[in-house]
């Protein structure tokens, strides 16, 4: 038997609460210290990232037996490895002997994890396979140790693999319940088999992780932050300029689009598909690729759903996963003011190669490592982080659209495309986890 993880440390007593919801005043505010206080960050790690379901990897990242990925779950170093039965195992990347990392590479394929320090080795399922020169130990030590400490819960849905350090979390499907239709909608963009996650673009930024989570569903900032990116992409070298606010690249339709705050802290930013703009989501592609993809979707799902799938939807799966059309984006908090983002191109199956090639190109140009659009977002996060340390500006304002948002029978809050509706769902869940008593 492997040991259980020790329980998270008891939270420090912190002064007051971070989320101020005042329905009577139509105000919704969040304390700036929620983005700047290292003690809040520690509490987020233990109460969110190391207590609930967190997205870890896509099944296609560990597609074959022996494939592995080393990463973090919260701040715990872990390995995700596929064994010969096809199961994905997750365990602490920590040798049971003296605590060394047994795996120092990010991805690869292996038959065994051998600690470089004294040669103890572990199978793809984490079980202890060998102790070097073992007769110097008590005879039953291997049995007592068992293997690497296992992550107690690992489950996947539509190719997305989640894990939890808390053995008592509900089933993944139950946990994801209210956001499942939107995950399905995203995943149906790949036909006949799940997407394949390609080599990621990676970013770091000097700011709190929640800025990226929020920004993914922010339909309000594009006109300002992305004026440059949109203008550049519409620029015809040698031609006449198009005013930035007239660009088709303005991804989210201010009239027909909407935002959705989903119970559990999830949310969406949506622009319905009509096929009229001949785009796949926000991606501008050739007529040939649009027609081929449209035809493949129509054949697989029928005309109505095909049009819906051609729309654009950003889905935030609380807390650290963003699904954006052709993009899987993971958010990795490093410290209160430093965050990593991994952006994987999601290659659709069941469509011609040129469709994927054009979509990959579009994604890279907009949101890649040198992207025209995404880098200006990251710049906002650094500016935000500078501001949230200021005293005298104790609260940020998240009230946009609060007086007019609707609540449907699923308990979803629906706002206009530029409303802060999904942020409120995010923060309400965040507060439920952080402000609860032990």
């Amino acid at each position: 038997m492997t040991d259980q993880l020790s329980p998270p440390p008891a939270p420090q007593q912190l002064d007051g609460r971070w989320v101020d919801q005042d329905p009577a005043a139509d105000r919704y505010r969040v304390r700036t210290s929620a983005y700047s206080d290292p003690a809040v960050f520690d509490l987020e790690m233990s109460r969110i990232f190391e207590s609930t379901w967190v997205y870890v990897c896509h099944e296609s990242e560990v597609a074959k037996a022996g494939d592995f990925k080393s990463t973090w779950l919260g701040r715990q170093p872990i390995i995700a490895a596929r064994d010969r039965t096809g199961a994905i195992n997750m365990m602490l990347n920590v040798c049971r002997h003296r605590g060394n990392a047994v795996c120092r590479t990010e991805t690869g394929n292996t038959v065994i994890f051998q600690c470089p320090y004294h040669g103890w080795s572990y199978g793809l399922d984490g079980k202890l396979a060998g102790i070097t020169d073992r007769n110097r130990y008590p005879s039953d030590l291997a049995k007592q140790i068992g293997g690497l400490v296992r992550v107690p819960r690992v489950e996947s849905y539509r190719g997305l693999v989640f894990a939890s350090l808390n053995p008592d979390v509900p089933e993944l499907r139950e946990h994801l319940g209210p956001v499942l239709p939107y995950i399905d909608h995203w995943a149906d963009g790949s036909i006949g088999a799940e997407y394949v996650a390609r080599t990621p673009h990676k970013f770091a930024y000097p700011g709190n992780w929640k800025f990226q989570a929020e920004n993914s569903l922010d339909g309000y900032h594009g006109r300002f932050v992305h004026e440059s990116g949109f203008a550049a992409l519409a620029h015809e070298p040698g031609g006449t300029e198009v005013a930035a606010d007239k660009h088709e690249f303005m991804a989210f339709d201010s009239k027909a689009g909407l935002t959705r705050g989903i119970p559990g802290g999830h949310g969406t930013l949506e622009s319905p598909g009509s096929g009229l703009n001949r785009q796949i989501g926000v991606a501008k592609v050739s007529d040939r690729s649009f027609d081929d993809y449209h035809a493949a979707l129509s054949e697989a799902y029928g005309a109505e759903r095909a049009l819906s799938l051609l729309g654009s939807r950003h889905v935030l799966v609380f807390p650290n996963l963003v699904l954006m059309d052709l993009n899987i984006r993971t958010i990795t908090p490093i410290s209160v003011d430093r965050t990593l983002v991994h952006s994987f191109f999601a290659e659709a199956q069941g469509v011609p190669a040129h469709v994927n090639n054009e979509r990959l190109h579009d994604l890279q140009v907009r949101l890649g490592t040198t992207g025209f659009v995404g880098l200006d977002d990251l710049e906002m996060f650094g500016g935000n982080q500078t501001g949230v340390h200021a005293r005298g500006m104790e609260w940020i304002e998240l009230s946009r659209g609060l007086p007019t948002e609707q609540v449907n029978e699923a308990g979803e809050h629906i706002g206009a495309a530029s409303d802060e509706t999904p942020f409120r769902a995010f923060w309400t869940q965040w507060a439920a986890l952080l402000e609860s008593e032990v």
């Binding site: 990676k202 000097p206 440059s228 203008a231 890649g368 040198t370 990251l378 650094g382 500016g383 500078t386």
Partner: protein, 169 residues
Amino acid sequence: MLSTALDPTYAQVATLLHREARLLDNLELDQWLELFLPHGVYCSPLGAACVDGEPVILLDDDRLRRQRVFRLLQTPAYAQRPASRTVRQVSNVEVELQADGQVAVECVVVIHEVRVGDERQYGLGTLRVLPTRTRYLLSPGPDGALLIARKEVVLLMREAPLENLSILL
């Protein structure tokens, strides 16, 4: 055939590389654009080299290069407000003349970058060093001078999460 420092082609290559570094450092980007042949490719891989169909850090044709320069010079590109200052160092230049008249170049370019400001604002005032191994394929242009048919910048840090890579490489 390898070209050595005493060879006229080597001198021509060195002049081109130094001029390109200066134009990029001075943000004279319209002139930088003219160093490329119209079909020239400007790219940077995530792996060891740019491969068709694989995700990359950068893959610009003439149109995208011009759009990128337009963005940096003529639009509110916030990732470059304030702009970066850079100093590029070019060294370890190896030049190989090819049978078809093209010239293959491999060199080390180290880009030193700082965004004007200091640590009172996140993201500003930190000196960043971006070592690269940069490969060129050069071809004679209409007037016989060498121009860039392909520039591939292999970043030392290509597999690490990178912060704000909005400057030209």
